[in-house]
Symmetry: C2
Subunit: 301 residues, 2 copies
C-alpha cells in the first residue's frame, strides 16, 4: 500500500561526547522514509534548496524512497539544525535552527502522493499538516507527530489537526503538556477525546505505549548500548511503524499495530546506532526482523 510522508528535509550538525559531524542528511521526513521504505514504497513531500544535491537524492533513492515530491526551491537553502548532545545522550541543546526554504513552504502534492492510503504528517506547523491531510482524500490511516513549540504557539491549529487524524504520536512529555495531565495514561485518554482512535506515547529509552479507547499496549525499548547519536529516533520509530502498516495492506487492528510498534522500535534502535540515519542506509529487512524477534523474546514472561 502506498505511503506518503510530509516533513522536514534537513542538514544537521551535531556534537556528541564521542564525536561531531557538520553536515548530516536529516529532517523528520528523511529519518521516517529511510525506515518506512523497508516495508512499503514511500513518497517524501518537503522542500530543499540548491545545496541539496545528487548525493542526498542518491541516499534516498538507494533505499527505494520516491523523491518526485521533494520540492527544489531555486536560490534557496535547505533547512538547517545544529545541536549538542550531553553525556547523558537523552539531553541536548539546540544551537541553531535556520528554517530557510521551510519558511515559505506550501505543500504541493503530486497526484501520486495525494492518492496515498497511509499518510504520516511529520512534525511541521499544524496548519501545513492539516493542509496535506485535506489533500489526501483516499487515505485510510493518518498519523501525526508534533512538538512542544506547536503546543505552545499554535495550540488551536494543533487541536484542529489532531481532530483529523487516526493516530497521534507524541513524546510522553508532549502528551502531558498537550493535555495538562501529569499521569501518562490519563493524558493519553484525554488525547483520544480530541479525535484520534490511537495515541502512541514515545518514551525514549523506556520504550513506548499505545492507548486506544479499549486497550493498552506497553513495549520496552530495544536495549542498545551503542548509542552514537539519537537525532531522528522518533521519526524512524514512526517510519517503521507506518511502513509496517502500509506493508500489511493498511491493516490497523490491535495485533498489527502492536507489531508495527515493535518494527518502529527496531528501526529507531538502528537509527541511534550511527550519526544521522547512516545506520539505515544499508540496513536490510532481515536485520530488522531479527531485532523484532529479540524484542519479542525480551518482553515475554
Amino acid at each position: 500500500m502506498t505511503l506518503t510522508v510530509v516533513g522536514s528535509i534537513a542538514f544537521d550538525a551535531v556534537e556528541t561526547p564521542s564525536g561531531s559531524r557538520d553536515r548530516l542528511l536529516g529532517g523528520s521526513a528523511v529519518h521516517f522514509a529511510l525506515a518506512s521504505s523497508q516495508f512499503a514504497p514511500t513518497r517524501v513531500v518537503g522542500p530543499v534548496g540548491d545545496d541539496f544535491g545528487e548525493q542526498e537524492y542518491a541516499i534516498l533513492r538507494n533505499r527505494g524512497v520516491l523523491t518526485d515530491d521533494v520540492e527544489h526551491v531555486p536560490g534557496g537553502k535547505t533547512f538547517f539544525w545544529a545541536g549538542r548532545y550531553h553525556r547523558d545522550i537523552n539531553h541536548r541543546d539546540t544551537l541553531q535552527t535556520d528554517l530557510n526554504v521551510f519558511e515559505d513552504f506550501q505543500p504541493k502534492l503530486s497526484p501520486a502522493s495525494r492518492d496515498a492510503e497511509v499518510l504520516f504528517l511529520g512534525n511541521i506547523q499544524p496548519d501545513l499538516q492539516r493542509d496535506v491531510r485535506e489533500q489526501c482524500r483516499a487515505v485510510k490511516f493518518v498519523a501525526m507527530d508534533s512538538m512542544n513549540l506547536w503546543i505552545d504557539i499554535a495550540h488551536d491549529a494543533l487541536l484542529e489537526t489532531i481532530a483529523l487524524v487516526d493516530c497521534l504520536l507524541l513524546n510522553d512529555s508532549e502528551l502531558k503538556q498537550l493535555t495538562d495531565e501529569p499521569n501518562i495514561v490519563r493524558a493519553a485518554r484525554k488525547a483520544l477525546e480530541l479525535g484520534p482512535r490511537v495515541v502512541i506515547a514515545k518514551q525514549g529509552e523506556y520504550g513506548s505505549a499505545m492507548i486506544t479507547r479499549d486497550g493498552y499496549f506497553g513495549l520496552t525499548a530495544y536495549p542498545t548500548t551503542d548509542i552514537v547519536e539519537p537525532t531522528g529516533a522518533g521519526d524512524s520509530f514512526a517510519g517503521g511503524l507506518m511502513g509496517y502498516v502500509a506493508g500489511e495492506d493498511g491493516n490497523t487492528d490491535d495485533a498489527t499495530l502492536r507489531r508495527a510498534m515493535a518494527y518502529g522500535t527496531a528501526c529507531a534502535s538502528f537509527n541511534v546506532e550511527g550519526f544521522g540515519s547512516e545506520r539505515l542506509y544499508e540496513l536490510d529487512r532481515a536485520e530488522i526482523d531479527a531485532r523484532v524477534a529479540e524484542l519479542e523474546a525480551i518482553s515475554r514472561f
Copy 2:
C-alpha cells in the same frame, strides 16, 4: 520457603494534591512484607518505639506477617517520615525525617529469621545490611535495595554489601549514579561487575528492567490511572518479586524471575492506589493474579 526482610518500620505523614494523612503505617519492611506475605511466610526485622501499638501489629498479622523480630525499643519513638507529593505524583519533597529508634538500630535476628532461605535487605545503612546478610548463613537468594544517600555518603560500605548479594534492585537514576554511567543498560552491566548476578532497574511509571550477564527483560508498568499516593511502591514491588520467588521454592531461573517481576509490578500497582499500604491490607491473591494476567496481555505482541 521462608523469607526474611530487614528494613524500616515507620509512621509516614503525606500530603498529596488529593488529600493528606498524618499517621500512616509505612517503612520499607512494612510495604515489602504486606506484599510478600501474599506468597510466602515473611519475617520482619526492624525496630519500633512505644508509639507502635496493637493496631499496627494487627495490620501485619492479619496478612500473616511474622512479627517476632520486630524489636520494641522501650522509651523510643518509631521512625517518622513526612513528605509532600507534587501534582505530578512522580515528584515529591521530603519535609521531615526523624530516625528515632533507627538511630541505634543493631539488627538481632532470631534463629528462625536467620534460617531464611530468601532474604531482602531493605533500604537501610549498608553496614547494617551486610551485618544481616552475614547472619543468614542458609540463604539461597539475597536481594537488596539502596538509595542516593548511601551512594553519596557510604559508597565503600555500599560496594562491600553489593558484592554479597545475588540481586541488586535500584531506581534507574540510582543505578546511573552508582556506576557513573548515563546509559541504563551499560549502568546495569557495570553493576553486575560489582558482584550480583541479577540487576533490576525500577523505572517508576515506565516499568522495570532486569539485566543479567546473558539476558535482558523489560516489563511495562501496570497502567493504573488511580494513583493516590506512591510511597512504598518500590518496596511493594520488591515484596511481590521476592515473595513470588520464595513461593516458588527459591527458584530463580530466568522465567521465574520474569514472572516474579510481574508479581512485583502488580503489587506495586495496588500499593499506589491507596494511602500508605492500605490497599494491600485486604487484597487477595486472586486480584493479584488477575493483574498479572492483564500485564501479560498488555505486553504481548
